[in-house]
Amino acid sequence: MAKRKQQEKRAGAWDRINPYVNWALGPGRSDYFIPGRQESGKERMPLLLQLKADTAKDFLDGVFIKRPVFRKRWQDSFQVLCSNTKPRDGKPAVWVGTMATQDIVERIAGPAPRRSVDSVSLGRPLDTQALGTLSKRVVRRKASIALATPPYPRPVVMGVIDDGIGFANERFRKIVGGVIESRVENWWLQDGPNPPPAVPPFTLPPPQAVPFGCELYKSQIDWTLQNSMVDGVIDEGLVYRKVRLIDFARPLAAADVNHQSAAWCASHGTHVMDLACGFDPSPPVHNRPIMCVQLPTRVTADENPGELYYYIAHGITHIVERAQDLAQSWGLASLPVVINVSYGLLADPHDGTGFLEAFIDHKIQECRTRGIDLRVVLPSGNSYLSRIHAQVSFTSAAPRTLQWHVQPDDRTPSFLEIWLPPDPIAIASRVTLRITSPAGASWTIPELPFSTVYFGASPYYGQVASSPWLPSSRTRFIIMLQPTGRPDSGVLVPELAPAGTWKIEFRNTGGLTSAARHIIHAWVRRDDQVYGFPVRGRQSYLTDSLYRAFDHAGRDEEFDNSSLVKRENTINSLATGTEAIVMGGYLGKEGVVAKYSAAGSRTGMPAPPPFPNPPVATTSRWPDAVAVSEDSRVHTGVLAAGSYSNSRVAMGGTSVAAPQIARRVADNLAMGNPGDRQTVRSWAVPLPQFERSGAGWIATVPIVRLKRFE
């Protein structure tokens, strides 16, 4: 086997924290900062930081910066999203977000600020038109004096963070005294123009206060509805054009995402929101106000590198704060909030310390200390059969080999993350990887902290970085590859990565046994496209000679064997925290778990009951339960609203299971009950395969009373 001369460069300081940032600034720059979308030289990078609470204030004040002008700019660059002083795990944390300029990005990785940082995640950048100016840190609102407590059923705010939310749909309106009003109290278009256009409804009071994008309050939405009527019928297309959710006149760079989700007849966000909080406009529903956040289209389209954590974290914070504003305006002490985020990711540690899962845990705990009931409902993910996860353990001294199939004509980068177990005693290198490309070139990387090995000659078509993961004392290797197919013009990829079978050989160089706590996990980052979006990425996947995709009858095989590629631990990596309610999907008629519904850990878990959080650090929690995600094997999806009023579409996936339970959780909270994970599990009837079905299946009332089958 031909061997290339290894090239080791001094890894950038960011490799200590997040190698994706190095990738985005280096080889992946033209795909991350697409030319023409932001001012060249002044690009801003969204980052979500988890800071240690004791040094957070020093970090935010920039005490280590000498120059006063830069220090002021540093202070203005960060916004506190969550400050959890009473964490369950005893580690208080402060979460901040920033749209950082390059110099701030470089400074964060400096030795002094780095000490305060637990983790940093990278978000996909926004266009210049949606970027706000650097704004001051949000002033913490004082705890409100105790105001009236309403009788039950009390109002509960339903928050929906999604894409393609047709909020003007009739299902989110109410008719009060013959006048059509919206039930949507707040809508945030995260990639909308900032500052907003100087036309109504944006010019109507109240004024805007969002760090990027634009928002509308109910009064402005009501105005828009009333002013988009033609012959007494609300022209929803006109509404969305006026609020810039749909904008066919917006110029686009060649490589950008040309997709207007709300213009399609079926959109993910509208369907999910209908399941979560859709009601007919008459009789009017007053105590289920809605707050929705429209994620940037590019974030939904194409997540690598740069994910949606930053935007979802901002969205959750925004909804909570606006809900409490609403509570005050209604003379209430607080309002409970249920937020549904029907998004799923594949990589990250899956042990509760990952970016968004930790943020959700901390935010819910912070809200608890503030006297606010916050519940977050997430889908368990659809990747059960997608071959994106492998588990490697050493039963002997022999090395183990995993194959990673990278698709040809994949126009987005591909990433594979390999997570080593936590290391209580610091052994220098427990595992050495040897990566061989389809062309036969190979590179070795030991488990050193923050090292990088580049593939090929400059310009490199890929790299592997070894980087510590401080929140749970693990190490991860991240293999990053450029696209294998030339992207559209405008995105310059200097060198394409070879498509085909990449072999990753794991060699045990110290200390790892076959025990469950020593399992090495590998996950492929998500690379496919959502329904309706143009095809760019092609999902790569893992395999080895033992993996069986189909059983003897040709059906999808739903059980693991001794192959390295596993179906367990494929659960949504956002959903492995302790507080979030996680829902899988099942077939309504047949009563079996949907074949794509992802799983938590099976290996190393005690037999249930009692229902545990995973006892071992490297195992992933299970979903709490499953709800209907497909009416039957042949009637795919469940019926709920299409984008435009009075349309019905069928959409499936665990994304549609979560909002049905969010609805029930909100009803539960409205009656003064806890509406938490335990409550949800108490509704369930057991099913086999607990790692996928959790406590079992939950019956929900269909939104559309149409019998699709007998």
Binding site: F248, L252, W264
Partner: protein
């Protein structure tokens, strides 16, 4: 009277071809079905049936012939390039017809038939047909048919706007002839004044309600539509007869 936008403005309108193309996956079946005519869709709204409303069909046939006659001559005279002549990336999903782009034939025919149907229903005197929702639904469908042509890649939104204008005017002309009225209000479409670059509805996209309201003196003035005064109509006894027969089918 119709005048066309400038070549430079057409090039600016290419952005709509790009954005609307995203909806091709969503509207493909409709677009294919609407390629050769739109009457099937419009006849889903009122109770049209060859056995039940034969004269209405005759009248609609006349209306469509009028629309086709007029639009083809406008297209010939205005000689505007199709979108795919400005850029190789438009790549329409259906065959681009051989006649010029501006005004849109589908829009003209759809709005002419929609307007004629509306007036038939409205003047029939039957209670349900007097409600404004009949007009709204017919016009919305005509608008959707026109926009589908932009999604398909064969028309700019301004083509649909001019087609809507022409269709409504022709429909009104036919109605007034059929009703025996002595004149009709004439208007002019000034293509060079069609907007661009402002917030909706002045972003250059096609908004049927703006044009309709302006032509029926219900809405604010717009820079691209100007009055030409009232023009006399030469009476047509045969159209009056056909109109009466058609109208009686709705009583």
């Amino acid at each position: 009277m119709i005048s066309r936008p400038t070549v430079a403005r057409f090039k600016q309108y290419l952005v709509f071809m790009n954005s609307y193309a995203d909806l091709r996956g969503d509207r493909a079946t409709e677009i294919m079905t609407q390629m050769n005519g739109t009457l099937a869709f419009l006849s889903a709204i009122p109770f049209l049936n060859p056995a039940r409303t034969p004269y209405t069909f005759e009248l609609l046939g006349a209306a469509l012939r009028l629309a086709n006659f007029a639009e083809m001559r406008f297209k010939q005279a205005l000689a505007s390039r199709r979108a795919n002549e400005y850029s190789p990336q438009v790549q329409p999903m259906i065959l681009t017809p051989s006649h010029s782009s501006f005004p849109s034939g589908h829009a003209t025919e759809a709005f002419t038939s929609a307007y004629v149907l509306w007036r038939l229903l409205q003047t029939s005197g039957s209670p349900p047909y007097g409600h404004i929702s009949w007009r709204n639904q017919l016009m919305r469908l005509a608008s959707r048919i026109a926009i589908n042509r932009t999604i398909a890649g064969v028309h700019f939104p301004v083509d649909s706007a001019a087609g809507c204008f022409l269709g409504i005017q022709l429909g009104r002309y036919l109605w007034r002839l059929g009703a025996g009225l002595p004149n009709y209000p004439a208007y002019r479409f000034i293509g060079t004044n069609y907007p661009w670059g402002n917030p909706p509805p002045n972003d250059g996209d096609f908004y049927w309600e703006v044009i309709f309201d302006r032509l029926n003196l219900l809405g604010p003035p717009v820079p691209y539509i100007a009055n030409l005064g009232v023009q006399p109509l030469t009476p047509s006894p045969i159209l009056r007869w056909l109109w009466r027969k058609a109208r009686s089918e709705w009583r």
